[in-house]
């Protein structure tokens, strides 16, 4: 990978992390709890319906579909960003 494409990938990852955090912050009372290492269900106390709605919004934002089995593997914000990157690659 060239330095240029590596930098592009890092920027894309940052964009994805930003969007995930933005969507999460809109659903929690304490925004300071949300960072890359936040466990989405355990640390934020989100119920399954809120998580589902959050996933739907991310799907719209990134124009991807996130299969349920992929969601099941995700724990942290960083995990989710990685899953979205993989799904974007699979779709392209």
């Amino acid at each position: 990978m060239t330095a240029l494409s590596s930098a592009g990938a890092a920027a894309a990852q940052n964009d994805i992390l930003s969007e995930i955090k933005k969507q999460l912050i809109s659903r929690v009372e304490n925004a300071s709890l949300v960072n890359e290492n936040t466990n989405i269900t355990r640390d934020l106390g989100l119920d399954s319906l809120t998580v589902m709605d959050f996933i739907f919004d991310l799907e719209d934002s990134f124009d991807i579909s996130i299969p349920m089995e992929r969601i099941a593997e995700v724990q942290t914000v960083a995990d989710l960003a990685q899953a979205i990157i993989v799904l974007q690659k699979e779709a392209s």
């Binding site: 319906l49 739907f56 579909s65 089995e69």
Partner: protein, 439 residues
Amino acid sequence: MGIFDQYKALQEQHAALASVGQCPDQLQFDDIISPTEATLNGKPTILMGTNNYLGMTFDEGCVQSAIDALKEEGTGTTGSRIANGSYNGHKALEDELTAFYDMDSAILFSTGYQANLGAISALAGRDDYLLIDADSHASIYDACRLSDAQVIRFRHNDPKNLARKLERLQDKPGNKLIVIESIYSMLGDMSPIAEFVAIKKKYGAYLLVDEAHSLGVLGEKGRGICEHAGVEKDVDFITGTFSKSIGTIGGFLLSNVPGLDIIRLASRPYMFTASPPPSVVASARHTLARIAGATDLRERLWANATQLYTGLQNAGYELGPTLSPIVAIRLKDAEKAIALWNGLLDAGIYTNLALPPATPFGWYLLRSSISAAHTPEQIAKAVDICTKIGLELELITLSNSRATNGTSAVNGASETPPCATSETEPTVPPKTGDSTATA
């Protein structure tokens, strides 16, 4: 750590419920008197949450056919049809189902839950895609876990969201199976099925419709939402249950897709459980034979549903978006929802208490399901009691309550059409049942 420690949160929720009254899961009726009446803790109780849409559980012919089958063929089959063979009734009921629906093939399952579990898990294999409505019943979600297919959810009753997801899958090999329900069990809202059919055709996907709450309820012949919407020939698979309008237990899968029978050798929930017992099959056959001609029962059912829906709506309650035989009061306050449910029970009205996360939008639902067997007087009494307790609990106020007397609803005193809802939903009761007819 003990093996039940994982359920600590659940135990706490249950204990909290028990501390303020009765628990839905622990109710034990002393006697069941009729499709709409029981005795609970020594008290006469009107049953308003049993899914007994046509009131067939005490039908004389159904009961007698079950008794005859018990005497002739015994109490149970004691094994699966794959291992122990079929009884005549199994095949006869499958033939009668295909004739009733005018479809090519049918497979019986032992419950409605197993019909979804067995059909969906076997139809969608590795490399295939299951596209399910987000508000799907647990049997559909569990089928997804049993299937090797990739599972993608779309927003509830949102054909456009489904279309976007199918668009993304266009270049992927593998079959796409869309799974929707007809009338959704929590809020009683209906699927915009014609729009889903158009999308399924555009993208070359298969469509499975679960008619659990619409068999006997929708359509001129009572076949359900596909008949009601005129899309039967475009639907690939139908599942259903005998435990609601049919008044017994069991489930089925129907299809016009050639080769359905191979599912019998691939579906674990079909292969590895005992087949329906003769008495159950006999009563299901008896009721099924009556469904097509049961226009009178459907008219009564929809008149009753209208009376309850408009009565509660006029009292000031927030309900599900569509008039249907499932009438759900939507509440945001857990304590008041539980108090209302307990208050109704104490006053002799049985409904279902549905709690998040099993409910949409985290609502607390007081869910009732109406029956053709209810009398206008029973419904008026339920509305009156519900209004009285709702006022006491300040769930409703006199200012937003347009009718505090349930009898006014008998006369159809609603100012707004009860079926008014979003433009994406079919809103009218079946052609055979005029919702404005007096009960």
